[in-house]
Amino acid sequence: MKQAIWILTVALIGGIAGAQGPEGPSVSQAKGAIRGPAQSPASLPGPQTMTPQTYPVEQIQAGRLRFTSQCGFCHGRDTAGGETGPDLTRSKLVAEDVRGDEIGPVLRQGRPERGMPSFDLKDTDLGEIVAFIHDQKTRLEALGGGRRSVDAVDLASGDATAGRRYFNGTGGCSGCHSATGDLAGVASRYEGLALLQRMLYPGSGLAPARPKVTLSLPTGQTLVAPLASEDEFTIVALDPAGARQTYEKNAVKFRIDNSLSAHFDQLGKYTDDDMHNVFAYLDTLK
């Protein structure tokens, strides 16, 4: 009986892992800098607006005030990137947005795992912000802007052969990863900066990888689940439906399989040459 529960749980978790695992982008992950195999080469400008939209000048002006004060510190007053937030004029989500249908949910729900707070906005407020972002994207594209950008060609300073050597040797990467296994085609799924960030620490950036937690409950049941968050007192795991479930640490036995910690430790070991070389090697895995 216990075994049956385990197998069922593992199968369900496996389903989640398939959708949210480190190298298997789900539908919601097919945004931003993740590209499909047939998409444009890295050095081209950001994605173009798919559905051209125009907005009244008053709405854009009101949006400028709102955007600058609430969003500008992170995303730049001109929407082209700021202290921590990305360049919105190069965002695939913005390019696909039609009158806030994509931007709205992100603003209202935030992206807490990436440090973006949620905003409690009235429809009119939201509409103004959306109008300003689209207007800025049109303007900056006309200017050929992107002055705060990092282009994929900028990153091409490494030696793929040396990177492969490091990957299979000193770096120890091949202890967990394989160029023909989990990383096959990785450079078709991520490009440029997104690939570099993913390589350095898959726990940050788009679609962060989640450690797995094994929980032994007082009922005798054992669960293996993706870890949503953890603090000194609680474990928050995702159930098979993707909902967050909280467990008091002093009420359960638990073990966290955090392969991410190896990535964090590696950050202290890479030389800049190692980093560029491994990146160059991964960039060949298309």
Binding site: R64, L65, T68, S69, Q70, G72, F73, G76, R77, G81, G82, E83, T84, G115, P117, F119, D120, R147, R148, S149, V150, D154, L155, A156, S157, G158, L193, L196, Q197, L200, Y201, G203, S204, G205, S229, E230, D231, E232, F233, H263, F264, L267, G268, Y270, D272, M275, H276
Partner: protein, 514 residues
């Protein structure tokens, strides 16, 4: 009879109108928290003793105040005359500290300056001072929140904004501003507490139009955090921000004084007495705005007037605050950007870690080994408890990024947050308490009974034992944006802390004897 009743009322009104005096600021009473740090030293250490390691586990919520707004509380509350003042950008609330009932709320008109946070108000006499995102300093009546005067301290249309909790020294209200996205000189302004008239301006980088060869053409060095003050030396100590352009160091050769520095100023004249650069020629946004903590203690057997700072660049500095000379420089977090320490205690930046076209991997990341969140010094143990981060970032600069504002790009790639206790005598880490992934947001408060109050990344307010960092109490209140404060009111000790957009007070259960 009626007449005498009126005169009583008038007398009491006069008495309370005197409010906070210079002596109160020098020696804050137990039933107050009169400036950002709760005192001039920046130690953020309370002498109250009712809450102890033995009973802290029984703390209960006494009240909760909700702003009813989106904006997170990132300010240090002020308590004066039984009234608490708490701020968010463009807002200040005065509430009865016994009941958390709102007494008044002042709201600044909407404006397009950054609304990223606000650090708190200041009080003097019967006036409350508030800076606004659009760089006004507003003097409000402590009694009813009406505006006494309103002056502009910098031009927000040029890119300045303010989050600053003013520092009041004598009749001077010292206010700073922020401004990293434009090449603007760093300025700290002293304003007359009664009239709002500007008394002096200290520029950390040359003012517009001035030519000063030593700066290397750098702008920036904004003083956006609250300084500390030594009344015996009559010196104000302020941390200065990073240079601009931020990541492009080629455009501003040399050390770029007085950016990323601790400066000692005469509060009556604004003149620089000495400066110490924590990060010469910074190219990573590591300002030195962290609190310069003032401590009188022995150092290597000698009684000293010390200044210590755990700086955003990952180094802990101990200086002689009479002259700014270095006594100790030691890393307190993961660092890989310096080639060593020079003979005067400054880290020597490694050019191999300057932002580059293909990127360099640098520790700490941009949010730093610590940041605005204030530390606390515990005199008994000699420990400075800091909200620290070990983290890495990738830094880019290419000529196309230009020489204006940010002028580059950088991304944090990983970080781990800790409460970390540094022994000031050696710079060694006495204990290290993990608080989550990324960076913490809570500052630190220590108390005389050996308690450290702070918070973790997920939103627990916590009490630790100062001597060893072990956890004694916690409560989930939402993400904290600043340090807890404590005070005594009607004979009871309260812990007050912001979580999300609420302010919480905790105390021991009634009838509980310490």
């Amino acid at each position: 009879m009626k007449l005498s009743g009126w005169s009583l009322v008038i007398l009491s009104a006069v008495a309370s109108a005197q409010g906070v005096g210079p002596k109160d600021l020098l020696h804050p009473p137990a039933d107050s928290w009169l400036n950002y740090h709760g005192g001039y030293s920046g130690q953020r250490h309370s002498g109250l003793t009712e809450i102890t390691p033995g009973n802290v586990g029984q703390l209960q919520q006494a009240w909760r105040f909700q702003t009813g707004q989106n904006q997170q509380i990132k300010s240090s509350p002020i308590l004066s005359d039984g009234v608490l003042y708490v701020t968010t950008p463009d807002n200040i609330w005065a509430m009865d500290a016994r009941t958390a009932k709102e007494l008044w709320h002042y709201q600044n008109p909407p404006n397009n300056a950054f609304h990223i946070g606000h650090r708190g108000a200041a009080v003097y006499k019967d006036t409350v001072y508030l800076t606004t995102p659009d760089c006004h300093l507003i003097a409000l009546s402590a009694k009813n929140g009406t505006v006494k005067w309103d002056v502009m301290i910098a031009d927000s249309n040029k890119g300045y904004w303010s989050t600053n909790a003013p520092l009041i020294v004598g009749n001077h209200v010292l206010v700073g501003v922020s401004g990293d996205f434009d090449n603007l000189p760093g300025q700290l302004k002293s304003v007359d507490a009664d009239t709002g008239k500007t008394q002096w301006i200290f520029y950390s980088t040359p003012p517009p139009g001035a030519t000063e060869p030593h700066s290397g053409g750098a702008t920036g060095g904004q003083m956006w955090t609250t300084g500390t003050y030594d009344p015996d030396l009559n010196l104000v100590y302020v941390g200065t921000g990073n240079p601009t352009p931020v990541l492009n160091g080629e455009a501003r050769p040399g050390d770029n004084p007085w950016t990323c520095s601790i400066v000692a100023l005469n509060p009556d004249t604004g003149k620089l007495v000495w400066g110490f650069q924590a990060s010469p020629h910074d190219t990573h946004d590591w300002d030195a705005n962290e609190v310069p903590v003032l401590v009188d203690a022995d150092f290597k057997g000698q009684p000293r007037k010390l200044l210590m700072q755990a700086s955003r660049n990952g180094y802990f500095f101990v200086l002689d605050r009479t002259n700014g000379k270095s006594l100790l420089t030691a890393p307190f977090a993961t660092v890989n950007w310096a080639k060593g320490i020079d003979s005067e205690g400054h880290p020597i930046p490694d050019p191999a870690k300057y932002p580059s076209k293909s990127g360099v991997l640098v520790a700490p990341n941009e949010s730093g080994a610590t940041n605005f969140r204030p530390p606390s010094f515990d005199p008994k143990t000699g420990l400075l408890v800091v909200s620290a981060q070990d983290g890495y970032g990738i830094y880019f600069f290419k000529s196309e990024h230009g020489a204006y504002g940010w002028a580059g790009a950088d991304y944090a790639v990983g970080g781990k947050a800790f409460l970390r206790a540094i022994d000031y005598r050696t710079g060694k880490i006495a204990w290290n308490h993990p608080i989550g992934e990324g960076a913490g947001a809570a500052g630190v408060l220590t108390t005389e009974t050996g308690l450290t109050f702070s918070g973790d990344v997920t939103g627990n307010v916590m009490a630790l034992r100062t001597s060893d960092g072990s956890t004694l109490w916690h409560e989930a209140i939402g993400r904290m944006g600043n340090a807890p404060i404590t005070y005594e009111l009607d004979g009871r000790e309260y812990l007050v802390v912001g979580g999300g957009s609420s302010l919480y007070a905790f105390s021991l259960p009634k009838g509980e004897q310490p």
